[in-house]
Amino acid sequence: MSDLISTQDLTKRFDGLVAVNQVNFSLQEGQVAGIIGPNGSGKTTLFNLLSGFFPPSAGRITFCGKDITKIPPHKRVGMGMARTFQLVSVFDSLTVWENLVLSTIRFKRDQQSVQSFFFAPARKRIVVDDCLKSLELVGLEKKASARTSELSYGEKRMLEIAIGLSLKPRVLLLDEPLSGLSDHEIGGVLDLIHRVKKNFALVIIEHKISKIVSVVKKLSVMNEGKILCEGDPEQVLRDPAVRECYWGKEEENCST
């Protein structure tokens, strides 16, 4: 199977710091991959490079066989790459359904005409109905008219994922989707991921390793900007180098 995303020697330097160091990462169509690693290991920087948040210092990114290294983020979204952010990023001043308008109308040809986009009310039935469908998927349909600032952190996280899903991506990059959530909310997000993961490829950055092991088919471990180890999640977690990176060196004889 051909790679959906692949990077070749991808590197990002911030002055003297090498945040991502010659990373070769690949993802296949429909695959669910996880990226773990300690704080500052370069996971989010890798996401930022993949999504076009900033350009790499060296290396190449290809998406669907096309070199996208110099392509701006909005065009990458158009090609089918969507992402969420580590800190929830939704529009607080808008209502919940309004948050979904921009991503929803991208796929409506009749809504993209100049007249519709610039002059027709966003409240048009057809737009609102589609936004509600996306909200139903994440269980927020009853709060559609509420101001987004009134949502809880977990609800905002769900809304952000709903926005990503409404972009109908070929690959969705989720940056720490479980961080800051209660156990109940984590259950909700994982359930959602299980329900939608068959539709597209998924890359998840997460600290809570135990929560995503059951979801991902491929796990990559990053440390100091490099991919330390990758492959089957169970095997990767048994790797001594990974265990050392996460839990420190195991003492051979533990005496009290």
């Binding site: 999504s51 979204v77 952010f85 990023s89 921009l102 991503s103 610039f118 002059f119 966003a122 972009l167």
Partner: protein
């Protein structure tokens, strides 16, 4: 046109008609022109979150271009209005390519710089045609039954322009494009990750705001039959900022309410207080620290509070049981 939009337009037109006998036709015409300018400014500041200290450049461009057109080319007022709007829009298209790449203080100051350039351009290098500091008089011929020399005709014409601009901007700000520019105000980066080229949409907003300000400029020229560099004086930008803040930024109603409030203050306060600008400074401080939503914003909050209270009362069944 939806029922709510029609009611809004009638309320605004009715409001201006009501204050006319109290004030005067001349003053209310001035107020309405300023409100058109305030709405164009609010599109940039209130909706898109880009504070400009040089928006008067477009009003001045509209005024000068229509004035010069009437003086040197044709005395047809309608053509002069079109020329004023088009040139202001074209100027927006050109300098917008540079300006909309910036944000924050840089955006405000680049606008100020261009405004200064425009001001000194009409004052000195172009003085042969603009008559420098003294300005020049214009005389427009009647257009059909519209005689722009008549104060009453001008009043009605400006009122119609105000209502049309309000309607146009209301449609624009309620559309997906309106949601887009409000989203840019909050988090431009996020909008890029929704697949939108934010540069283009910021540029469109800038050009639209410039064109509407250009219309306000042409109306100013026609109203006074005279154009001088004061129409482009950078100090005038304070008025637009004040109007949007006092009325409530990010709302066309707020821009109109703020526009009228500012004009009332600047026209009538000097009668009682000699250095009235000092009052403006204090008022601005009060708005920034205690009154951030502005008049319209607070009215909206009260409305939302009442609506919410009604919903809660309904939910808990208060009023359902009669004793």
């Amino acid at each position: 046109m939806r029922e709510r939009e029609l009611i809004a337009l009638l309320v605004i037109a009715g409001g201006f008609l009501l204050i006319t006998p109290v004030l005067s036709v001349n003053r209310v015409t001035d107020f309405m022109i300023f409100c058109i300018f305030a709405m164009s400014f609010d599109l940039l500041y209130g909706y898109m979150g880009r504070l400009s200290f040089g928006h008067l450049l477009f009003l001045g461009t509209g005024a000068y271009c229509s004035g010069l057109f009437l003086k040197y080319i044709s005395r047809n007022p309608m053509l002069a209005i079109i020329v004023g709007i088009l040139v202001a829009g074209l100027l927006g298209m050109l300098i917008g390519l540079i300006i909309v790449r910036t944000t924050g203080a840089c955006f405000a100051l680049i606008n100020l710089a261009f405004n200064h350039i425009g001001f000194f351009l009409v004052l000195s290098p172009l003085r042969r045609i603009t008559n420098g500091e003294d300005g020049f008089g214009i005389h427009a011929l009647p257009f059909g039954f519209l005689n722009f020399s008549s104060r009453t005709t001008m009043y009605w014409f400006v009122l119609i322009c105000l209502v049309l601009v309000f309607y146009l901007l209301k449609r624009v700000t309620s559309s997906p494009f309106g949601i887009l520019i409000r989203s840019i105000k909050e988090d431009e980066t996020r909008v890029k990750f929704l697949g939108y080229n934010t540069f283009f949409y910021k540029w469109v907003t800038f050009v639209l705001a410039g064109s509407v300000a250009g219309l306000a400029g042409t109306l100013t020229a026609l109203n006074y039959n005279y154009v001088n560099p004061n129409v482009m004086d950078v100090h005038g930008n304070v008025g637009a900022v004040f109007a949007c803040l006092i009325g409530g930024a990010g709302s066309l109603y707020g821009a109109v309410v703020g526009g009228v409030s500012y004009m009332v203050i600047s026209n009538y306060l000097p009668i009682y207080i000699q250095r009235w600008e000092m009052f403006l400074g204090f008022a601005l401080l009060m708005i920034i620290f205690r009154f951030q939503k502005g008049i319209w914003g607070y009215l909206q909050s009260v409305w939302e509070y009442v609506e919410r209270k009604k919903t809660v009362m309904k939910a808990i069944g208060v009023g359902a049981v009669k004793r």
